[in-house]
């Protein structure tokens, strides 16, 4: 009985604090195995209470991180919804997988990589900025810069010719030889 309780407590400790404390949890188990049952029961209850995201900032942080990672993952049975927005059974379970993996000490990148390895890059709502995908990121900026340069050149040219009072004359000078001949003929006739 004493030993079962101790084991339960160590399990809870591992669950709350993550796998990093596995060694210390085993120590706790050994220690608890030799101590009085009352002493074991009390902290076990306390640990249980601390599991709520409402009271434990670590749990709340994990929830927030899980939601953040999950919001970048596409719901497989919806159209353009993240697994956070979706109420589909599969999405909710995927959200739990995200949280469990994070709780087990995986980084958000590792969690994303897991889903990409199973569902393909399609599962990411935002394409990764590498390879051919870079076009998606670079093209709008490139178009903006190109448009700006084009507009600037046009405006400069426009400003240059516009400020010159002899603009019309300069334009006339640019008439082709044939046009000029036609113009002269027309003036002569009138």
């Amino acid at each position: 009985m004493n030993r079962t309780l101790a084991r339960l407590m160590s399990l809870l400790v591992v669950f709350v604090a993550g796998p990093g404390v596995v060694v210390s949890a085993q120590e706790v188990e050994q220690e608890a195995a030799t101590s009085a049952p009352q002493a074991v029961e009390a902290p076990a209850e306390q640990v249980d209470d601390d599991r709520s995201a409402l009271t434990d900032p670590e749990e709340a942080a994990l929830d927030a991180l899980a939601a953040e990672v999950a919001s970048g993952l596409r719901c497989p049975v919806c159209r353009n919804q993240s697994i956070v927005e979706s109420n589909a059974e599969l999405s909710r379970e995927m959200h739990r997988v995200v949280r469990d993996k994070l709780a087990a000490g995986e980084t958000p990148e590792q969690v994303e990589a897991y889903f990409v390895s199973r569902y393909g890059e399609w599962i990411l709502l935002q394409p990764q900025a590498r390879g051919i995908n870079l076009i998606v990121y670079a093209l709008p900026a490139l178009a903006l810069v190109l448009g700006f340069l084009l507009a600037r050149n046009r405006l400069r040219k426009w400003a240059r010719t516009g400020s010159d009072d002899s603009g019309h004359q300069a334009g006339a000078e640019e008439l082709g030889a044939e046009d000029e001949r036609w113009l002269r003929d027309a003036l002569r006739e009138s």
Binding site: V77, E89, E93, G120, W122
Partner: protein, 188 residues
């Protein structure tokens, strides 16, 4: 003069846009890509209706058809006769057909099987963790797994008899893939 030189740029700039439109419109948006083919099938531990535990690793050396299905799924009814034929065609020692019940209860699945027949093993995946591990979108989805545990094909939607026969025959005919062939060492 400079303007004339640049004139050909306009249609040229339209080319990638036209190509993108052509590619985008010619693509079937309902076809879902899977990166799983060619990879090692993830191992699982699932429980049959009878309460026995099945690991994929227990089935190594056999061709495995992992079929995710549900009693509420209409295309599953459509493909069921093909699976019945699959079970009849190959022996258990060569080809294992394993049904994974997806988002469904054991009672519903058993009622379905009583109505449509089939004697192969089914396992339950109540947490859907195995389905997620296999990148399942919906049902039916079937994975053809070679004797060395490599996924040869993931079929989304109902399987046809031609597909099953071709896949199983080729997996049985070529049991030695690169990995297991090198493992065999100096085999002639």
């Amino acid at each position: 003069m400079k303007k004339k030189q640049l004139r050909w740029l306009l249609p040229l700039a339209a080319l990638p846009v036209l190509w993108l439109l052509y590619w985008g419109m010619g693509r079937d948006t309902y076809v879902l890509p899977s990166p799983m083919a060619g990879l090692q099938a993830p191992d699982f531990e699932l429980v049959t209706f009878e309460g026995d535990t099945v690991h994929l690793s227990d089935l190594e050396g056999k061709v495995v058809i992992l079929n995710f299905w549900a009693s509420w799924c209409i295309p599953c009814r459509q493909e069921h006769p093909v699976l019945v034929q699959t079970e009849r065609t190959w022996d258990d020692s060569e080809v294992v057909l394993l049904g994974v019940v997806y988002q469904d209860s054991r009672a519903n699945a058993e009622r379905f099987l009583a109505e449509y027949g089939g004697e192969w093993t089914h396992v339950l995946d109540p947490s859907q963790r195995t389905a997620i591990d296999y990148g399942v979108y919906g049902v039916p989805e079937s994975f053809f797994i070679g004797t060395d545990g490599t996924i040869a094909l993931k079929k989304v939607g109902p399987v046809t008899w031609d597909l099953v026969r071709y896949q199983v025959d080729s997996l049985l005919a070529a049991p030695l893939t690169a990995a297991s062939a090198t493992g065999a060492g100096g085999a002639p």
